[in-house]
Point group: C2
Chain length 423, copies 2
Amino acid sequence: MPRNALYAQSGGVTAVINASAQGVIEAARAAPDRIGKLFAARDGIVGVLAEELVDTGAESVETVAALRHTPGGAFGSCRYKLGSLEKHRAHYERLIEVFRAHDIGIFFYNGGGDSADTCLKVGRISQQLGYPLQAIHIPKTMDNDLPHTDCCPGFGSVAKYTAVSIREAGVDLASMARTSTQVFILEVMGRHAGWTAAAGGLAAESVGDAPQLILFPEVAFDEARFLAAVAHNVRHYGHCAMVVSEGLRTAGGEFLAEAGGRDAFGHAQLGGVAPLLADKIKAALRCKVHYAQSDYLMRSARHVASKVDLDQAYAVGRAAVEIAAQGRGGVMVSIVRTADQPYAWSLAEVALTEVANVERKMPSEFIREDGFHITAACRKYLLPLIEGEEPPPFRNGLPQFARLKLQAVPARTGKTFDWQSGT
Amino acid sequence: MPRNALYAQSGGVTAVINASAQGVIEAARAAPDRIGKLFAARDGIVGVLAEELVDTGAESVETVAALRHTPGGAFGSCRYKLGSLEKHRAHYERLIEVFRAHDIGIFFYNGGGDSADTCLKVGRISQQLGYPLQAIHIPKTMDNDLPHTDCCPGFGSVAKYTAVSIREAGVDLASMARTSTQVFILEVMGRHAGWTAAAGGLAAESVGDAPQLILFPEVAFDEARFLAAVAHNVRHYGHCAMVVSEGLRTAGGEFLAEAGGRDAFGHAQLGGVAPLLADKIKAALRCKVHYAQSDYLMRSARHVASKVDLDQAYAVGRAAVEIAAQGRGGVMVSIVRTADQPYAWSLAEVALTEVANVERKMPSEFIREDGFHITAACRKYLLPLIEGEEPPPFRNGLPQFARLKLQAVPARTGKTFDWQSGT
């Protein structure tokens, strides 16, 4: 009898993480001689600790296929990072206890950098405890910061959302600028790297196209230079549309949104970086400014997801099962770019020791010398990732998502575990 | 020789106003015996005053067809309201002067309530001055506040954007709620009426679906009741996703966003109503809150426009030309609902005297008794308006928009006119 497998989702979800789930489930069903039951954990690793597993076998073929067009995390995700094996020994041992109780020999963890680290440590503790386990990491993060992979599933769709949105808002702005709004700011997620903001730059195909400016977390905010650049664009084109990373920082490295001051009650100023910039522009240039903060909308916007991203998300899920079926573990599935134009890619695997706790940064040669836009090299890298459309089915004017049964697997450990206290 | 016509766009633009422009241009081209040249004004009425006209005849058939999938205002729009005939007599006379110089006998004004008023007054001054003019108003406003029409072109697409966005963000939120964000707020435009916020309610098809709450400008904000409702949803479903109108007001009628306090420098608090609500929720419920402010993104989101809205926008443009060709004026084209399910509609015309300065409010029976959601009657009204999809063509992963020649028509009045000073 083949051993069972467990799939769990981790960290901030994306528009395409469920396509990876679909890939895992479909590939596991196609290999019944190698993979036993495929369980999924509710809410990521937290659901394993709490022994809250569901049987993916209860989901119909149609429901599994519908995962491809369902954003969010269909099984629930979590923001919960396990620390060192010493610090969280009880947690790691509990994981093995749950695996053992359900004869789980394969662990698929679908997440970003933190979950790669967890995946690595779960593999180590299983060795220490003499419990055979194949731990395989399936990459996912809109932050695009996993190393040794061309890109991270989830990022391409956020990139596409950003570029589409600023292109659309840019033409709106241009048509209003003479008598109304002259500056529009789109604030995007991405605290530590400018990947998402950079993607907005793809919308600027011709001179004068939106966005005229991009503000990256990698470039220290210089108010005078910024205001001069806005003023230049307003003078030159009549308007200025920009994409701004929420992670914009001062020269001292402080987040601008936090440096922005406190209200009369001493609370840190609310509302992110866009309203702060809007205020500065209004005060200096005396023009009308609008801004949008897309927040979760951007990472859940399945309706405008990138087909390349979907294909990659699905493929890395399937590949993880193939690796498992071949008896390997301790790796992350990675994407290898084999050609730019047309984009071609294949899959490979990287040892988790190479991935865990390594953050991929945006190369400095991707940022234009003046710090306000992307370079041709950046465009060449990013463009393939937003290519293709595959909208979800719509009914009554709205996208239709999978509704899962999430059939609970009866607990077998006979113990409860409080994941917050570790007891 | 038939007389020439002029088309101008007015007020905040939408994802589909250019479909009306397409309708006007295509219908005018098909009636060369009734309509001479079709000019368009740059930036709405301001471009007429400045005698900045373009010849739509210079645009190719393909470019005109591409207007259907181009958001923003292709000819430019304006926020500029002409006052009474007495107050702005010089402006009105200047309009007639420009019309006369270019033998313009038909004026198509594509906008909301203010432009209907302008259209009416331009018709009146032409009579006073003995200059024959057919002034025809083509409805457009995302605010859905024009009277005597089933809906306003531009609204259906904003409604669809809102419902799609909260559905997507709602599943994202649900998957994170156990260990991370439990409340998500989507702030939407619409200062004076809750139409857009109401449209978010369409996403809630089953019990527990997002949005769990809607806050309307029509319902005075009651902090205690609001926090209790959020807490109830978090307890019951584990999370709470809501759509909030930017026009939310206190019981005293003050905008909440403006009542929210001032910072240390005495500036009104920035950032709209969402951050204010987020702060209140965090303080009271001690949970993590995220929010998005979609602003211009929602009204420019052509990529997810409603096909019904597109069809209506196009049709009202064509109908305006037919009315003109039949020699009439002083009217707005209106949409008449003839059936709900399936939705059927026809076009009619309403005297501008019935339209100007009348604001259509959202009926109170569209708001659920507790003030936090929509009723079945509201759903019945709104649902048809978001139906159907017609995405723009994409290339390189991005939507493609029309790029117009905007070929200038040589000035003929021999005079300049400063529209700001009226001299």
